[in-house]
Amino acid sequence: MADEVVLLDFWPSPFGMRVRIALAEKGIKYEYKEEDLRNKSPLLLKMNPVHKQIPVLIHNGKPVNESLIAVQYIDEVWKDKSPILPSDPYQRALARFWADYIDKKIYVSGKKVWQTKGEEQEEAKKEFIGHLKMLEGELGDKAFFGGECFGFVDVALVPFYSWFYAYETCGSFSIEAECPKLMAWVKRCMQRDSVAKSLPDQHKVYDFVLQLKKKFGIE
């Protein structure tokens, strides 16, 4: 039976991008469905009744929710090609630990950077840069977070690169200046088709952020 794979997504979502990258890494054909988050489709509400959020991976009619869970699912089902998680249990635990760190820290602290100004924004920038530096430290001199090969932690983090221009412009700072090694890692990731084709243009994301700021009355 041919596999039917559908992805419910929203173009600027870094979480959606993670799943796009994983599907591309494995060469899986799928139907991409853009959701209007102000007017969620009946399919989305049916497939993710608990959180009502994207991304939702639907495989032969059955939904898998939460981006990192979907990435692991993809890795386990299409296991004969391009492994995303390492095979060693200790390395896997480290990968899950750092992906969890990224989930807990990057989105929330990045959001604070573009949503605030003045003193609050300075605090937010410090926190955000602090987390990036922590990750840069973990990367060290390795090509990717898992070592020689592109993997789970890279997939978890690299989508946020599409938001860097927005963070930098709103916050008046340079991520390249603060974390040069991390930016070198970004460039390596962007050389992969799966990443380059899954991330939207940074300027498009910035325009989206400006629209959000207007909508929420943030100067």
């Binding site: 898998v64 869970i69 692991q72 630990f97 969890d100």
Partner: protein, 231 residues
């Protein structure tokens, strides 16, 4: 080479107890080291510099932190009595509910019981909603299950990742409610969940890896008193 497994934990922490349950189900021998929260031990800071929290597992000198990460590590490292099923879709569902418990249920319950008065009502509503969703997921199963033979009544429903992750709901919530004088989780509201609690707590591996009730209650009562005194 002889295997060395050490667990840095806290007697009252549900997260720490989760890891102990998982190790016990697998029959793994380990050395338990109680952490002194007041003076976070130098060892803890060395092995979990990122979060500086327990539980931390040291396996042959290599540290791993975060209880849900540890549950999967234990499953993959030691054979027998798995806490995750073999099917990828069922594994994804188990991971989803474990995450839901940690990121939604626990924070809402905590805020509803200990939060600022202004936040409590909203948190209470959220906690009730979350518990209802969890109950719906249980349906007519005795346990959330998915495990492969560790400590449950036997058969296809054995203790799984979600049962272990939900230990806070099965045991701590009742104690905290008594200490605080609030009631969110009760048998009338959540008959299905209470059946699950009864089933879970009847498993010896769970029961034997919980902090003593009176000691835990005394701890929370003193916390409540300290909070009142500081107002």
């Amino acid at each position: 080479m002889a295997e060395e497994v050490k667990l840095f934990g806290l007697w009252g922490s549900p997260f720490s107890r989760r890891v102990e349950i998982a190790l016990k189900i697998k029959g793994v021998k380990y050395e338990y080291i109680e952490d002194d929260l007041q003076n976070k031990s130098a060892l803890l800071l060395k092995y979990n510099p990122v979060h500086k929290k327990v539980p931390v597992l040291l396996h042959n000198g290599k540290p791993i932190a975060e209880s849900l990460v540890l549950l999967e590590y234990i499953d993959e490292t030691w054979e027998g009595n798995p806490n995750l099923p073999p099917d990828p879709y069922e594994r994804a569902q188990a991971r989803f509910w474990a995450k839901f418990i940690d990121e939604k249920c626990l924070p809402a319950l905590w805020k509803a019981l200990f939060g600022e008065e202004s936040e409590q009502e909203k948190a209470m509503e959220e906690a009730l909603q979350n518990l209802k969703m969890l109950e719906k997921e249980l349906k007519d199963k005795r346990l959330f299950g998915g495990g492969g033979g560790g400590g449950g009544g036997g058969g296809e429903e054995s203790i799984g990742l979600v049962d272990i992750a939900a230990n806070f709901i099965a045991y701590w919530v009742g104690i905290i409610q008594e200490a605080v004088g609030a009631e969110i989780l009760n048998r009338e509201r959540f008959p299905v969940l209470y059946k699950w609690i009864d089933e879970l707590l009847s498993c010896s591996v769970i029961r034997e890896n919980l902090p003593p009730r009176d000691k835990m209650l005394a701890y929370f009562i003193s916390r409540v008193q300290a909070a009142k005194a500081s107002k």
